[in-house]
Amino acid sequence: MHPVIQVSAIRKTYGSTVAVDDVSFEVKDGEIFGLIGPNGAGKTTTMECIEGLRKRDRGTISVLGLDPFNDVYKLQERIGVQLQQAQLQKRIKVWEALDLWASLYHRNAIDGERLLEQLGLIGKRNAWFMTLSGGQKQRLFIALALINDPELVFLDELTTGLDPQARRAIWDLVRGIRERGKTVLLTTHLMEEAERLCDRVAIIEHGRIIDIDSPERLVKRHCPERTVVLATDDRSAAERFRAIPRVDEITCSGSQFTIRGSGDDLVTDVIHCLSENRTRVTDFRTILPNLEDVFLKLTGHPIRD
């Protein structure tokens, strides 16, 4: 199947600053694709080039078979966009915004009232934009991005500044967008968000893509480390743990042992060792690496605001 978005070797500079450098990737039909990286990495610039809001200096982009910059009006009919830090008129009412947006598209808009209901905004339909909470504003922006029943939805730092509860509610909504058969391109600097939402992610830093894959495969590829933390009073256990293959390091403090090694078999091997020797264990947990660790490993520094 032809990819919905095809970006190849794009570059964008602002003066002497290179914001995006040689970025290429494809987004497939029906997937949630995430551009992840710290603030200032070039995620938003990349996204805005794809939306047709910015002109790339070099490279080619095809979105739904269109060139986003030259065919921007044609493209805008078919996509839905949520921008980072966007605002509406302070005193525009929720239903007026939806009504205005619905009137802008040639294609038939979907039912705004139902959309408000699905997004939990129906009680706010007569409220002024300025009176909405951060989460409500974001939900309204999602509604505006969906009003023209787009084939492709762009979400830029959707949950930044929201509390954890609002964030979870928004994640559910985004999964709902995918279930409607739409393709989603999103940016985030929250690794948890990327892990929970995205089918595939591209890690961006300093305007370049470092790697692209599903979160699980990225973790597997770059961070094979596994850690088992357990507690036992059996002093002789340390010796036996050392005999387990691919164990790199064992530290012990009081009755707590931390076993570090690599490979998917590590956890099984530790359990095996414990049961073979009938070791009495009072605590057992594993620490698995996540995207955050992948980022740290690939860039040499943690991702942070």
């Binding site: 809001l53 921008l83 966007a86 005193r91 525009i92 802008l104």
Partner: protein, 249 residues
């Protein structure tokens, strides 16, 4: 091409009316000031001196109109820059809405508000001011519409360029008010120093004032062909330039 224009215009009118002091400040206060001044001097003006009477007969309607138009320009500049700074323009840009639709909507709102203010002034003031009896109101309205469009186009250009909302109002004022000084509103252009006359000749407001006064006094349109040309030229140049330099963010 102007898809969404009427909806946007209607919403902008409603939003304007929801602003605290929006309608009162823009329409109410000018009408009130006009009334109070009228109560104090209106009917006696003709008795004071012929100059005062002539000011009320011709100067006043033109002065009032120009002040309202300038007020509209300044508020247009401010609104567009607030929309730009707040990311509202950027959000609108990511829809099929065109920039000219947004500007046109705001211009229509400003025209309607200016018209409402003027109509109320005329209605409220006719008890006190013996003006407008012989004035060609239809012609004057037409001349005012032409002048307003031309002067508002200067507003577009400023609005397209000013970097932040904080600067919008002062920059607008710095450009618009000195234009008034030499425009012939307060003293005839011929009575100004030569240098000021030269400046007046290149400023579009001078032509607007000349057109408005002339039509009010009953001049024929053809007598003001060069005013109309100057205003049309201003409109075309400013609109074309602002379309080129318009910044969404």
């Amino acid at each position: 091409m102007l898809r969404g224009l009427w909806k946007l215009t209607w919403i902008e009118i409603k939003i304007f009316l929801r602003e605290p002091l929006g309608a009162i400040g823009t329409i109410g206060i000018p009408v009130l000031v006009f009334l109070v001044a009228g109560r104090m001097i209106g009917r006696r003006a003709a008795l004071i001196s012929p100059a005062a009477s002539s000011f009320i007969g011709v100067g006043l309607p033109v002065l009032a109109s120009v002040l309202i138009v300038i007020g509209a320009v300044l508020s247009l500049v401010t609104i567009i820059s607030i929309y730009r700074e707040g990311g509202i323009l950027k959000r609108l840009r990511a829809t099929p809405l065109r920039p000219q639709t947004i500007l046109t909507a705001h211009v229509i709102v400003k025209l309607l508000l200016s018209a409402a203010t003027l109509v109320l002034m005329v209605a409220a003031g006719k008890r006190y001011y013996p003006v407008g009896i012989h004035a060609p109101l239809a012609g004057f309205t037409m001349a005012l519409l032409i002048s307003t469009c031309s002067i508002l186009s200067i507003g577009f250009l400023i609005a397209s360029l000013v970097p932040t909302a904080r600067f919008a109002q002062p920059i607008g004022a710095v450009i618009m008010y000195p234009m008034m000084a030499v425009s012939g509103l307060f003293a005839p252009v011929e009575s100004l120093p030569l240098a000021a006359q030269a400046v007046a000749k290149v400023l579009p407001l001078t032509y607007a004032v000349s057109l408005l006064e002339g039509i009010w006094k009953g001049d024929a349109w053809w007598a003001h062909a060069h005013d109309l040309t100057a205003l049309a030229l201003t409109f075309i140049v400013c609109t074309a330039l602002s379309a080129k330099v318009f910044r969404w963010e």
